[in-house]
């Protein structure tokens, strides 16, 4: 989100608001709602997320348990609400760190071209040559499961995607007139890169980041498939789905509700991503 506002904080703020359609407002409102629900989960949630109700396992949705209960009788609504805290964090941190890493590295490589670009190109090639999930799985297996190690693994792996996008875009625009003009005016490289290059190349990276938000949560789910996701007793949507996968046929609510939570959240995030990219495109329309 911070990257979004740097882009938006252009002189055209009023235009920005004026051209904002319902998708952005809707997306922002949605994410704010999810965030609020997450923040106030202890006040809103009807039960304790780790309290077992062994007498009432696998109850279908009812008035007492809106989303039903899991096999240990834990209230799924409560767990979905608490999980939002972890998942918003996973999505945000899992995007921001690699985004910053990748954008900075990719920008400079693309701007200078030459040997920094050649080296970066090979590093990117090596990391992208690994299937994403395999690398994350191997790193987590090495470091041990847990949220911190998950962030380390995600950051080590996914910055290259951003670097690749930004580098490609930067290579495409570095020869354009306004960059050359800025250079001939004697502006510092940093100023050219961040004031002139960045706004012109950031859009695809941001669009990718918005889908990456969801991909990070899904990566957490895939790790949960191997028991290496967020560790118990902390509820997390991906792990809830992975742990409930044997109940898909007999007690589908165990996996449907956390799944819906991921889908809804990703929907809001995508709306924001698409709208932001539309807006930036309009502002920087040649």
């Amino acid at each position: 989100m911070s990257a979004v506002s740097t882009v938006a904080a252009q002189p055209a703020r009023r235009r920005w608001l004026a051209t904002t359609g319902w998708p952005l407002r809707f997306g922002l409102a949605g994410i704010l709602t999810v965030g609020t629900l997450a923040a106030f989960a202890p006040l809103i949630a009807p039960y304790d997320p780790t309290a077992l109700g062994l007498a009432g396992g696998l109850q279908p949705p009812s008035a007492a348990h809106w989303f039903g209960t899991d096999q240990l009788g834990r209230d799924i609504l409560t767990r979905v609400l608490y999980a939002a805290r972890i998942d918003l964090q996973i999505g945000t941190i899992g995007v921001i760190i690699p985004l910053i890493m990748g954008v900075v590295i990719g920008l400079f490589a693309g701007y200078y071209a030459g040997w920094p670009d050649a080296i970066l190109g090979r590093v990117i090639d090596v990391v992208t040559a690994f299937p994403f999930l395999v690398l994350v799985l191997a790193i987590v297996a090495m470091l041990g499961p847990g949220l911190r190690n998950f962030y380390i693994a995600i950051s080590l792996v996914s910055w290259v995607a951003y670097a690749r996008i930004v580098r490609g875009e930067a290579l495409g625009v570095r020869g354009r007139g306004y960059i050359l003009a800025a250079r001939s005016l004697g502006y510092s490289d940093a100023r050219i890169v961040f004031r002139h290059l960045l706004p012109n190349v950031i859009v695809p990276a941001l669009v990718f980041g918005m889908s990456d938000f969801v991909l990070d949560i899904l990566a957490g789910a895939s790790l949960g498939f191997f028991g290496l996701g967020v560790q118990p007793p902390t509820p997390e949507w991906g792990v809830m789905i992975a742990e409930g996968r044997n109940f898909i046929i007999t007690a589908p609510w165990v996996v449907i509700f956390p799944g819906v939570a991921i889908v809804v959240t990703s929907f809001f995030v995508s709306l924001i991503g698409d709208s932001v990219s539309d807006i930036v495109r309009r502002i920087h329309a040649p």
Binding site: L52, L54, G57, L58, Q71, L72, G73, A141, G144, P145, F225, F226, G227, L228, Q231, P232, P233, E243, R245, N246, F247, I248, I249, T250, A251, R282
Partner: protein, 519 residues
């Protein structure tokens, strides 16, 4: 902005282009509906989906269940477990005799038995197979520790020589580790026998695409006349529990293993057969006594009384498991449910904890193999009980191979074990649990000379009544000192289509196919 909207014309064209693409997209599924070649060979094939592939055909270094079960199909043994699980019956041996001093056992070999390649089974094959089996350096040598040598008596008799009377001998000989294979084949392949089995069992190896598919074919030279009635068994590796169930329901396979307990009711509901084999394993927590305060018997007893076993049986195994009342599974010989078992009793747990050095509780870590939902749920239930006596249970999921390493290096705190029981005799389980010398009593560091002496005595004792008394005493000691906390008797679950008849896995988990037919 305003002028850049596409015209109506362009929209129409786009729609046409889209419909073209949709037509192309539909083409694929349509071509898929074309008639498919059918594999129309007139043979009876039984297909089975298993959760993992086997690794080796050599019993010597075998460690995994799929290898054990598959070797049991392709190899025979001198004796086999009776359907009652209590006794053994003749297999490759027709009769046997124990010397009065209990130090020599002689076995008469069945005559006319041939390996699947047509070569006859001889005494030499048996001597070689068993000599490798009793090698104390092999994975399973411990099952035969008093057996010192195997010798040929004459062309149809072998003798086993023991250093002391050995009551579990016949039970040990019924395990896969005592499988009989061809000496010529072993000498031909050496190390590579792991890939090339030759046995006298009802089926022989046809082909093996490692990690994906194993095909067994009927042994034309099988010694039991008229058997087997199935021509070919195809064993596919399908790691996902749901997929195996769905494959059974869609008719892709006839038989599956590792049925998720929660789906048993639903599978039975649609008319499939479910086989729940009791007594293959007891789920239990192994405590490392080098980690304080687990060295205190009061702490261990408190932990043992805080497991809600009913809840584990009901919520985790959906009523298919039974509450464990001993370290031994209920199907084991000399099992005694009345030897003061550990029960779920929080008042008792609190009382024990109060007598310990940590009366107000402490934090305990349990290491579980990652991805095993059953163990995770069971531990969560334990943690719920422990919380009420002030003990915080921290669950760590560790990647499986890493976990075995941690366990072997004895760096674990609490380890969750559920070994498959290999013999109906309690000697294996009690021996492993109490023998401090070989593996620090299953890595618990529980060192009780009295119990060790009882295990050795029970191994020597040939009188069943006296053995019962010894094992009852051992079970009482185990429950009192709680080096390992037993939870539930875990069932092993298989399911098949109704057309499969005669499938009867035994308490070792063995499933043979010589009596199976397909309607």
């Amino acid at each position: 902005m305003v002028g850049s909207r596409p015209s109506t014309q362009i929209r129409l064209t786009a729609l046409r282009a889209v419909s073209l693409l949709v037509a192309v997209a539909l083409f694929i599924p349509i071509t898929m509906l074309l008639p498919r070649p059918s594999a129309g060979a007139p043979v009876v094939t039984l297909s089975m989906a298993r959760n993992a592939d086997m690794l080796t055909w050599d019993p010597y270094p075998t460690g995994d269940d799929p290898s054990i079960f598959t070797q049991m199909i392709v190899y025979d043994r001198l004796v086999k477990l009776a359907p009652t699980n209590r006794d053994v019956q003749p297999e490759l041996a027709t009769s046997w005799k124990m010397a009065p001093d209990g130090l020599t056992a002689t076995f008469t070999l069945r005559q006319g038995v041939k390996f699947s390649d047509g070569t006859p089974l001889t005494v030499d094959d048996v001597v070689l197979s068993l000599t490798r089996a009793i090698d104390q350096k092999s994975e399973w040598g411990f099952l035969f520790s008093p057996v010192k040598s195997v010798t040929k008596v004459d062309d149809k008799t072998i003798a086993l020589h023991m250093s002391e009377p050995f009551a579990p001998l016949l039970a040990a000989l019924s395990t896969f580790a005592a499988s009989i294979y061809s000496k010529a084949n072993y000498e031909k392949y050496g190390q590579a026998m792991t890939q090339h089995p030759l046995g006298t069992g009802a089926f022989a190896l046809e082909s093996w695409q490692k990690g994906s598919q194993l095909t067994l074919v009927k042994n034309q030279n099988y010694w039991q006349p008229g058997k087997p009635t199935i021509d070919r068994i195809v064993m596919r590796v399908v790691g996902d529990d749901n997929t195996r169930v769905l494959q059974l329901q869609s008719g892709q396979v006839d038989l599956i293993d590792f049925v998720p307990p929660n789906q048993v009711k639903q599978i039975r509901g649609v008319g499939q057969k479910v086989y729940a084999v009791d007594g293959t394993a007891v789920l239990r927590y192994t405590l490392n006594e080098t980690i304080k305060p687990l060295d205190e018997v009061n702490v261990r007893a408190a932990l043992g009384h805080a497991v809600d076993r009913e809840a584990v049986a009901k919520n985790v195994y959906f009523g298919l498991a039974t509450v464990a009342k001993s370290l031994l599974p209920a199907t084991t010989l000399y099992y005694d449910p009345n030897a003061d078992p550990l029960t779920y009793d929080l008042a008792k747990a609190k009382a024990f904890l109060a007598k310990s050095s940590v009366p107000n509780g402490f934090t305990l870590t349990v290491q579980l193999p990652a991805g095993n939902q059953t163990l995770l749920d069971a531990a969560t239930i334990w943690g719920n009980g422990l919380k009420q006596i002030g003990v915080m249970l921290k669950i760590e999921q560790v990647e499986t191979t890493t976990l075995i390493q941690i366990r072997n290096a004895e760096h674990y705190t609490v380890y969750n074990a559920a070994w498959t029981n290999d013999t109906p005799d309690p000697d294996e389980l009690m021996g492993v649990a109490m023998d401090f010398k070989s593996q620090h009593a299953a890595h618990t560091f529980y060192n009780n000379p009295e119990a060790q002496q009882l295990v050795a005595q029970a191994r020597r004792e040939l009188d069943p009544k006296k053995r019962q008394a010894l094992y009852t005493q051992l079970q009482r000691i185990e429950s009192r000192d709680a080096p390992q906390i037993y939870v539930v008797d875990v069932p092993r679950l298989y399911a098949s289509s109704p057309s499969v008849v005669g499938f009867a896995p035994n308490s070792q988990g063995k499933y043979g196919f010589e009596n199976v037919s397909k309607r």
